[in-house]
Symmetry: C2
Subunit: 503 residues, 2 copies
């Protein structure tokens, strides 16, 4: 029904048939890029870090529809799609936003089209609400400065989506960027919107310049507005395999409170592809099952796709410098320095330089070479350096630990346990552990003993003794752990019991 | 007698009268510069760090006369002049060289002329050796690549010094550097040497270019070769006050094993000035009490006066890059990156950039602005940031400590105690301490108890209890200390007894 729209009349007809006024924000948080290394890593990707403000990009995205005053009702519960490996961090960050999101946990990486399809299936399965809501699908790792302008564009886009179109927000380009896909705009519609003539891939420099000069190409923002049923119909038409595999994975999956878990075996068979390639690039072609509209977005959008793009998106001082944390500039211009973890970063006479200082790695890059970081990270990974994949601070369901020092036969960790958090009941073959509580209260299991430790108390866990650390309190528990032994690898752990299902 | 030389005949006459064949290396180690910040700091200056190799510059200087095969006998015991605040580190580094140096400890900073004068007085007071030895005075913080060439130049220079001249090594310039003083060469002597026509101060750029073009100006290397008696006579003639004050300070000072300690009250009255200004700039002038010669030094000399100069002095890869420690270059050129303390330093697309990463501060500088680091450090000092003055790792007579982590009410230190070292018997009003031994053996005093702790054992020092940590063993003792309390400043310490005289 919705995929039969092919003329102005048909749109009017569709509008008459539907009344859907519900918007469900869908946040695509499956990214795992390392283009913002060393802040983003495989295990802690860009959406989970506070690139622009103190909130993470994911948190900023969760809050993005707040205060929407358009003609549609926005669901207070966004749908978030993320990978299994980032589930705990995603959950924790969303919890801190005070938002009761539903989270679809993908058992494997399959790019954006299956992610959006799972979201559409979840909406279609909603029994107690309009099951054909309008999805506002947003990448979780972009920044948008002007939310009012965004809301206005979404309000217009949702109108076209309500009538059965697949709508995207396009950014009129300000420079011939080769890092984005472009949308060639077609026939004008109302409110500044256009029909989509076609999607075009990332161009080479010369072509990008022509696109900008022609004034008929907008950047693809990656934000899509489409009814759940329209998306599913289009996908069935264009990639029946993906539609069938996603549907099977969804239907044989489990719902676990706010978590939606597609069936891993079924999901493994889903082909991997992007929204653009699977659907959007077919719009406007002969036999296309649907029509597309593009609404202009002039709201300070950035995909933060490189440190150069981050510098572009930040507020600068009169010399073009941006400082974050303990930074001193002396004669520097157009530079971006960021100190995570408290070290002093000093830039002397630098021009167009990015400095990112983290606990275990520091990046110094010429802004014009920011794209080469992908190659750099690949090289670091080849050399098996852990800095490619993980941070010194490692997140766990119960909190995190930070390896602050190590020697030949010892290692010192700072361990922070959330209120109510508990580590697994465990045992080590090769190391003993000393624990000193420096904040909060610990409930310790050591062999057959169980006891409380408060600030400034300590205990010793001999090698081979089973033990557990719990935070029974209302504030965070922080301990300093000194490990001692001939082998101190993370894999010397026998998990006897774990409340997060890791035993 | 020695200052009467004024013609070729007189030189021959003097040569006939003296037989001094003894060379005493004199190492001027009183520097406190921060031009190589963040590696050099007020409390740990350039000569104490390994700028070029793994040995410190001081250690390289101590070893510099090894293997000398010229016509003179080189004393195995160099004389080192350093400041009180660097005494322990200087002693420790020299001890590690396996050299039994004598160390003159200056109670205050008075520049190089008083330092050389104290050395001359110490030599003149030597009862059991030729008391008019030839001093080879060397700054402790320069690098010289070709020691054979240095030795050859010193051998020639010592010949002229033996005959009563004040001799300096001059470096034929390879660029119009404005950072050095220049020596205008006069009448040629044998073996490539020249009479000194005059010393000239650091020139502006234009003048420096003229000097280089004229081919009659050499860089002042800061290395002087002169007999102790010749120096003392020249000084008495040119600055009687300095001579008298130094003599009084030396005579009323103390000799304490290998340490020579001038009288602090007397030394406070010594005027502060450099060798160049006090004596060398008068050479060649009417009424000068002595004659000067300059011997060319073509031995890869560098004063390492800036990070740019360090880069110049280092061996580079084909792209002009220099890496030290865990460094990855990706598309970088003519860059210098140095990782102290184990972090990964990655440079992407940088050109002419210096990156120095230390435990608590990272410097990123354009090489052409390396001179501005002085201004940077002044700014950091104004803001009372400790990174201007001290390293995270703090040296003490008994070893060192490294503050590896701190929170609101706790601090974690790694403490390393040398074999035989002992901390003071002390007490804290505001903090308790947990000690975990991770290497070696500790002898602990806690209140009235005394006991040994070995690897993987721990103890707790409650607030207000007097305690002492000692290393009774033959290997280093390493402990992890967790301090806990409302106030954790270094000044919360009551020293009850100290074997290094600090109580």
């Amino acid at each position: 029904m919705e995929n039969a729209v092919s003329s102005e009349d048909a749109i009017v007809m569709t509008r008459a048939r539907t009344s859907c006024h519900r918007i469900v924000p869908v946040i695509l948080a499956g990214g795992s890029g390392t283009r913002l290394w060393p802040m983003s890593r495989e295990q802690f990707p860009k959406q989970l870090i506070g690139v622009v403000g103190s909130d993470s990009l994911l948190q900023a995205t969760v809050a993005r529809m707040e205060g929407f005053t358009g003609a549609f009702e926005v669901d207070a519960q966004p749908l978030i799609v993320c990978g299994e490996e980032h589930r705990f961090a995603t959950e924790e960050q969303v919890r801190l936003c005070g938002v009761g999101a539903r989270i679809i946990v993908e058992p494997a990486r399959r790019d954006t089209a299956p992610a959006l399809t799972l979201a559409a299936l979840a909406i279609a399965a909603d029994a107690d609400a309009d099951a054909d809501a309008i999805m506002v699908a947003m990448p979780s790792d972009h920044s948008i400065a002007d939310l009012q302008a965004l809301h206005a564009a979404i309000d217009i886009a949702a109108g076209y989506a309500q009538r059965g179109m697949i709508v995207t927000l396009g950014v009129p380009p300000t420079r011939p960027d080769t890092g984005f896909g472009y949308i060639r705009i077609g026939e004008p519609l109302d409110d500044g919107a256009h029909r989509i003539e076609r999607f075009v891939e990332k161009p080479a420099a010369e072509l990008a310049a022509q696109y900008v000069a022609a004034q008929r190409y907008w950047w693809n923002s990656g934000i899509f507005i489409v009814r759940a049923s329209v998306w599913l119909d289009a996908l069935r038409h264009l990639n029946g395999d993906m539609h069938a595999a996603c549907t099977a994975a969804f239907e044989e999956g489990k719902v676990d409170g706010h978590l939606i878990r597609p069936c891993p075996n079924r999901f493994a068979r889903v082909p991997s592809d992007s929204i653009d390639y699977t659907v959007m690039e077919h719009i406007g072609a002969a036999g296309s099952p649907c029509e597309g509209a593009v609404v202009p977005l002039c709201a300070g959008w950035s995909d933060l796709g490189s440190w150069d793009a981050v510098w572009e998106a930040m507020e600068k001082d009169t010399l073009g410098n941006v400082a974050s944390g303990r930074v001193v500039f002396e004669g520097a211009t157009s530079s971006y320095a960021r100190s995570e973890g408290g070290r002093l970063v000093a830039c002397v006479g630098t021009a167009n330089i990015v400095v990112i200082d983290t606990d275990d790695a520091v990046l110094v890059a010429d802004r014009s070479h920011a794209q080469d970081i992908k190659r750099l990270v690949a090289r670091i990974r080849e050399e098996h350096a852990p800095e490619a994949e993980m941070h010194r601070k490692v997140r766990r369901p119960w909190g995190y630990y930070d390896s602050i020092e190590h020697g030949a036969r010892y290692q010192v960790k700072r361990i922070v346990v959330k209120p109510g958090g508990q580590l697994s009941l465990q045992m080590h073959h090769h190391r003993a552990e000393h624990w000193v509580v420096v904040r909060g209260t610990a409930y310790v299991t050591r062999g057959d003993e169980k006891f409380l430790l408060s600030e400034n108390q300590s205990t010793f866990i001999p090698l081979g003794v089973r033990h557990r650390l719990e935070n029974p309190g209302k504030v965070e528990l922080e301990i300093i752990e000194v490990q001692s032994g001939a082998y101190l690898g993370e894999d010397d752990i026998v998990r006897l019991d774990d409340c997060y299902g890791r035993a």
